[in-house]
């Protein structure tokens, strides 16, 4: 296993130590520490302004900068990192909620995975019933590679999480109430779809070897962000073809259907587009992919109003990329443009 680490067991603690050393704007609370719970959490260094709704997210580690890298002004108030690819525990979420609730309540942004859903559900119960904190839970489920049906655990939460956190975070920063913050978060999620392709498997520190074997001339289509294989495997394709695969899957979703638009679909619709690397893919390849996405969207009558290209939602050291589109409108774009100051996303401040 070729990784910079000390021991597989200390990966989470050591990552958080480095994060804390790098970002004085963050406060890393380790398990059991003053105010700490059953696991570590990360908050802004400053306390939540009275009356501001607090945004908390969390999930297994291995997706950095998600979520800790998005803690800061205009985005998250706290992040609860679990062990690599393992949901954090309820006590950890509860402690984070108690640390950042200003009285205005807490919105949990939860990626739709059984573990995250169950643990956050328990945390919400504890926070509401025992700690008297008002909690709204927003599920993110944007991955079109998984059919949302009674036959699955539902679509996975992936790239849209960044968009939800940014936009809901901006609204919370403006002083909106918990209902509005949760509503806009749900709207971003409903408007967003993602699709990812892997060129290599990733290696969890605990396992020490790649999660699956992929021949030199094949790629996995429709992967998630936990190293699991995708829905299918096919021959390596060009960036152009990969972009087409992703856009075909995403734009087939009803939310991108433009026949119901005022213009009947003759005017372009606007999106926020993200091409995120999965951890082992260099930026230059992401630009190549984004260039294809931009060109093909243009040809399909979709305008990219804003974009992100880089590593935002990752899967350890997996070589691969995810395309996320969020159908945007003036409100969402305005919130997108609002100042944000986090380790991984910063503008306007």
């Amino acid at each position: 296993m070729k990784k910079f680490l000390n021991t597989p067991e200390s990966v989470l603690a050591d990552t958080l130590a480095g994060l804390a050393a790098a970002h004085p704007s963050l406060r890393v609370v380790t398990a059991g520490e003053g105010g700490g719970g059953d696991g570590p959490f990360v908050t802004r260094a400053s306390r939540t302004k009275p009356g501001k709704v607090a945004l908390i997210s969390g999930g297994g580690s291995g997706h950095e900068p998600l979520h800790s890298g998005f803690v800061g002004q205009g985005m998250l108030d706290a992040a609860c990192p679990g062990e690599v690819f393992t949901s954090p525990v309820p006590g950890q979420m509860l402690a984070a909620a108690q640390a950042v609730d200003s009285g205005a309540g807490v919105v949990f942004v939860v990626k739709n995975y059984t573990g995250d859903v169950l643990n956050f559900r328990m945390a919400a119960e504890l926070a509401t019933e025992d700690a008297g904190i008002r909690v709204e839970t927003v599920l993110v489920d944007d991955d079109v590679a998984v059919r949302d049906s009674t036959w699955t655990a539902g679509r996975r939460g992936t790239g849209a999480t960044v968009l939800v956190e940014k936009i809901a975070g901006a609204l919370a920063e403006r002083g909106a109430g918990i209902g509005s913050v949760a509503d806009v978060a749900r709207r971003v999620n409903a408007n967003s779809r993602s699709f990812a392709v892997a060129l290599t498997a990733c290696t969890t520190p605990a396992n020490g070897k790649p999660g699956f074997q992929l021949p030199d001339d094949e790629m996995e289509i429709g992967v998630g962000i936990h190293g699991e294989p995708g829905r299918s495997r096919q021959k390596l394709a060009s960036a152009r073809e990969v972009a087409t695969l992703a856009l075909d899957a995403i734009l087939a979703e009803p939310v991108f259907d433009r026949t119901g638009d005022e213009s009947g679909g003759s005017e372009p619709c606007e999106v926020i587009a993200m091409v995120s690397g999965l951890g082992g893919t260099p930026l230059s390849e992401l630009y190549i992919l984004f260039g294809e996405v931009a060109e093909q969207l243009d040809a399909r009558g979709v305008t990219i109003a804003r974009n992100l290209v880089g590593d935002y939602v990752t899967s350890l050291d997996m070589a691969g990329a995810m395309v996320t589109l969020c159908r945007a409108d003036d409100e969402l774009l305005d919130l997108w443009d609002a100042p944000v100051n986090t380790p991984a996303l910063r503008w306007g401040v």
Partner: protein, 208 residues
């Protein structure tokens, strides 16, 4: 009769078996999940061992099992943490006496299964721990109904759990991470069902 000593021995045995079979559980999870089930349970039962040691002096089997459940909830994470945690917690809540006889334990197991179902919403055949837990609970019930003792009931439950776990191989997953694989989940044994079988086998072994 499951008294406190046996209860502790059971949980110890589970912890030992998890430690020994950690890599096997993780391998199974690597095939259709995210390669952490062994590590998750190992972390959990290590915490449980610590929690049951030291000052903790439960007066009833129920208190001990509630402690096991709470500890799993607070240390495992993932899907299996809340599920196993709730199961043990629900079982413990049923058992208010210092020791549990087979009838009491059958009821407790039923509560455990109900808790898993309520939380995870998995049905039989969804390729989850329910496919081992369900048959085990039924087998224990049936054995008790036939007038068999704790030891025999536990052995029957262990066998049913083993069989249930094996029977997950040809199933297509509909819950948990494995469901994302669709048809590609077929042909692999569910890690959670496997660990459930391990838990029942440990119980049976305590009565050997």
């Amino acid at each position: 009769m499951l008294d406190l000593a046996r209860c502790r021995a059971w949980i110890e045995a589970v912890a030992t078996a998890v430690a020994e079979r950690k890599d096997e559980l993780t391998e199974l999870d690597a095939a259709i999940g995210d390669a952490d089930h062994g590590a998750n349970l190992h972390r959990g039962f290590t915490a449980v061992q610590a929690a049951l040691g030291g000052d903790f002096a439960p007066e009833t089997v129920g208190q001990a099992l509630v402690k096991v459940g709470m500890t799993l909830i607070s240390s495992v994470g993932g899907a299996s943490g809340p599920l196993y945690g709730s199961a043990f917690r629900a079982m413990g809540k049923q058992l208010a006496t210092p020791e549990a006889d087979a009838d009491q334990f059958a009821l407790a197991l039923r509560s455990g299964l109900d808790a898993v179902r309520a939380l995870g919403a998995a049905a039989a055949g969804d390729k989850t721990m329910v496919d081992a837990l369900g048959p085990a609970v039924t087998a224990f019930d049936d054995a008790v109904g036939k007038g068999l003792g704790f030891a025999d009931a536990a052995r029957a439950a262990a066998q049913a759990a083993e069989d249930g776990a094996k029977a997950t191989v040809p199933l297509q997953a509909r819950k948990g991470r494995a469901s994302y694989l669709g048809e590609r989940s077929i042909g692999h044994q569910d890690p959670g069902a496997t660990s459930t079988a391990l838990i029942f086998t440990a119980l049976a072994d305590v009565f050997r």
